[in-house]
Amino acid sequence: MKEKYVLEYTEDVVDEPIIYSLIKHFDIKVNILRAEISPGHEGSMLVEIESTPERIEEAKAFLSERSVSMTPIAQSLGFKAEECIHCGACTAACFSGCLTIGAPDWTLHVDRSKCTACGLCVPACPLGLFTLKFGN
């Protein structure tokens, strides 16, 4: 299985080679899509992880021991769908294919699996309906 997660590091572990451990000890394929980490501070990383469900569970436990939270990207991107007016302004900014609008219904479609946590939808929405939990 292949899924995107946001890893949130506390400042205590920010200089540990966490990703190396995931690859070396759990045989997990890791693709780093976005990272914001500076030594001495908290950090965030968007990774795509590919492995068996069992290995991913083991990795989660390993990360949890080190106080690294692992949140599926679907939960990091907040969207107040019921307030959306389907103007499409967010689709101008979203280049990952997560937010799309078009025929036949011209309502906004949100495919969280395609989100790359770029955060551009947050300022692009004229109604301020998006939030992204990534850093800050």
């Binding site: 103007c87 499409g88 302004a89 101008a92 900014a93 609008i101 078009g102 300022p123 004229p126 301020g128």
Partner: protein, 454 residues
Amino acid sequence: MIVTNYDMHAGRRVKTLYRDLSIAPHILYSYATLARALCGARWPPRTAPKRTALQGLLGLTEVGRLKMVHKTYDEINDRIARGEAVVLTAEEVARMGEELSPAEIARKVDVVTTATFGAMCSSGCFINFGHPEPGIRMESITLNEVPVFGGLAAVDAYIGATEVSPNNPRYGGAHLIEALVKGDRLVLEARGKGTDCYPRRTVRAEISKETVNEVTMVNPRNAYQNYPAATNSSSRILYTYMGMLLPKFGNVTYSTSGELSPLLNDPELRTIGVGTRVFLAGAQGFVTWNGTQFNTEKPRNEWGLPLGNARTLMLTGDVKKMDPAFLKAAYFERYGVTLFVGVGIPIPVLDEDLARRVSISNRQIETTICDYALDGHPGITRASYAELRSGALTLHGKRVRTAPLSSLAKAREIAELLKVQVASGSFPLAPPAQALPAHAVVRGLQPSGSGGLE
């Protein structure tokens, strides 16, 4: 325009056309029907075939005029009263236009509903708070800390949609208007110098649409007839009223409902003028004047449709009767506060000319794509709404994503609602009391200094 006569040789050609179209040869067909038959799958052509060229192709000896379809407002209102009127949305008629001629559409369809739901900055409302005892001549007024214009009589004010709170640049007049429509309470604070007739100097009160006398929306410029699309050639993100424009032609944004847009379905404003009843944010409002920046002189394409922002409407309606589903406050990043307004206008199909106008499709409506990175936002190319609505177009040899800024889903909701209202007789149609200007140009402003751009 109807084919009335043809010679023996041309007769075969026309009969073949009739057979291809599966239509009976004893019926006379319009120029558009025959032109479409000639063009085949290439319909509609980028350039309309000349009548003489068509005549030549068919070998016709005569192309003449037959009695045109003509309906009056009274006849259409009678049909509505009898429950016989055919009311369709402009999108439905655009599809019908691919099959039927304008003459056939004029016979079949009585009213076409149009709509748009987009950000319209030039919006606002007059409000009368009522007099406290003793009275105050309100000179400096805020609602929820947002300044409102008080340069009117003692307790009158104008809430401008784009005015913002000094404490929160994301909250402004548009939010006040939305709150009033919803029935929410707002905090009014006003100061005056105190006069012999109005001795009070300050007042603070909670108001809502239930407590005030009138709240009347008066929007100086709404429902733009077409609007240029936007792109960005620079190497940084531009934050504009046309949304976020990504660097190096990263996207193109556009903001009209195309074939559903009110003023694109009656481009010469034959049925829309002073006194025309409109759907305004859920209430029935009226066109009160031409909108500001009203422009009849924009370049047009071969279908007679302007290639950029042309005519506009000043609209008025009762805020107390509006529906929050059709009005929404918004904030465009680093630009400011604005108001999404839902506008719908029914167009009576009085004759073939209007039938042809209302049946235009997104392939025929074009706009100019402007580069917002350059001074004056020069146009770089033009594109049809069919291309813009396809999700991507080619710009400088590169595939560029396109994105709308006005809600087609909401516009469709309005057009459908309006269809029901018109057909039920609750939205009567009437000719304009006065036509909007036949000729008007837009002037720029000549600054006297460098204006802080140095």
